[in-house]
Amino acid sequence: MLQSIAQNLLNALQWGSFYSLIALGYTLVYGVLLLINFAHGDIVMVGAYIAFFVSSLLLGHYQMLPFNLPGGVALALAIPLTMILTAAVGVTLERIAYRPLRRKGAHRLYVVITALMCGLILENGNLALLGASRKKFPEMVDKVVYTFGAVSVTNLKIAVIFTAFLVFFLLQFIVTKTKIGMAMRAISYDKFAVPLMGIPIDNVIVFTFILGSSLAGLAGLLSALSYPILDPYMGLSIGWKAFIAAVVGGIGDIRGAFAGGFILGFLEIMVVAFFPSTYRDLFAFSILLFILTLRPTGLFGVAKTTKI
């Protein structure tokens, strides 16, 4: 019993790491722009596909490179390549769809609808381009299983959890300690006064999108490594759920998104461990509803006071 709980805890840590990574991307964009980037889940999907093509290319499956790399080296190269390419996708979306609307001063909900539409285009474009057949992600590293008593951990699981924590501390550092992080916080505080101070607002926003989308690419790659089946709609439900996780933590807050992702991961794994898996969403979301009723601005959120 205790062992199964420990095993479930580890699984939940891994599952929560995915949610946390994606929720961090949501919360970054939200924190700066106050824009719910509903296309983020689909950017994760795009990231997974990019990772698939990049790693197939590096492993020599397409015979386009003069050399075939061994799995470990290919993975080490695929990670930065995937992050860069996915960031390019995110920045393109910002440039084409969001920035003109921002310039026009459209109501933010119209930007949200545009984001939803961008997500639809990404997933259906993928479906039209690559067909409905699912892709099997190539195996790049050998699975090593460490066993402690009856609890077993794979090296992949450890890597995923470790990456999530690393990214969290890195982001926390960037946002609170660096100059560009300060600019990001300034924009989120007052979008109209910031350009007056000589801060290049567009560059900071592009940087935010680069950070957020590269995290989505990383999450896509890691989830493809752990669950090696890719399909165009994989970003849909994980995107909505990561958004929910970000909000439960208090959206716009990096610690909140991180904690929220893990909370949702724990809830889902624990529900599946004790009930039929069809009850997963029911219990998880009921508890989230309860949390939000108790703390209306999320766990780490601060209620904004409105002045009249």
Partner: protein, 339 residues
Amino acid sequence: MIQEKMTVPAALLTLLMMIMGLAHFEIIDLYTQTIILFIGINIIISSSLNLVNGHMGEFSCGHAGFIAVGAYVSSILSVALFTQDRVFGAPLLPPAYAALAFPLIIFAGGLAAAFAGLLVALPSFKTRGDYLAIITIAANYIIITLIINIDKIGGARGFMGMKRVVMAMEEVAEIPWMILWVFLFTVLVVMAIRRFVSSTYGKGIIAIQQDEVAAEIMSVNTNKMKLIAFMLSSGLAGVAGGLYAHVVGYVNPKSFDILKSTEALVMVYLGGMGSITGSVLSAVFFTLLLEALRPLQIIKWIVIPLLLIILMQFRPEGIMGHRELGDIFPRLKKFYRFK
């Protein structure tokens, strides 16, 4: 003056008679009839969601959950009452009464959906903005998974049998009943929303949209207003769901997931926030667009979002913006009056 006031009802009556006549004598085929029915249902969906998203200014993105509640409750009621069914057994009432009781059944579905709306309305007292958006998404997920887990009503397989109720209605009198009901409910719902928004309650809801704290200070009972607006909006969505279930004859929890909510959101923001005419126009436009692009199959779902994105770039406030038809053509105002 009195004749001018009657223009709108007369025009609506003529339209209804025309559509029903065309459908009865099979001048328009079943496919076209279904599109007309879907237009009516989508008008109800978009204008009811606009009540919360546009007039009250809260971002609700789980509307499909309430549509699902209405669809399931009314179809279970009608199947249990009027047909021989595997699960529910012999009809409890003679099937001939179906035509009479149908509006009541749809109303019951709406009522159930209104109470499901409490799931969103009660947390909305303290929660605002994007946090409320999450609660609505969560409510949508909760309702869908609840339905999936009730095996008695088909679970994930779906629920059917509503076609037999419609057939029972047609035995009473040979007229296209569904067109009649959808038309009546659409007109009633749009009228009800129009009257609600221009009433004292509606003013309170618009005050919440402008500034909730200021509204509270001006002695608007914001909690009560939100409760009423959310329950009315989800109740009307339930009405749309009941009609949808009886038109299609089959309901499935999968067809009421977030994608359906997204469709509703698109219709609202395409039409313009807080504009009833906008919601109606965009529902018509969107339904026709969906059907016109059907031959493209999967490409359809790339073309439509692309069209909407381009539209947003050129007209970021939707088709009508915040205005009504009467604001654009002031002369039309003398043809209708609500107060």
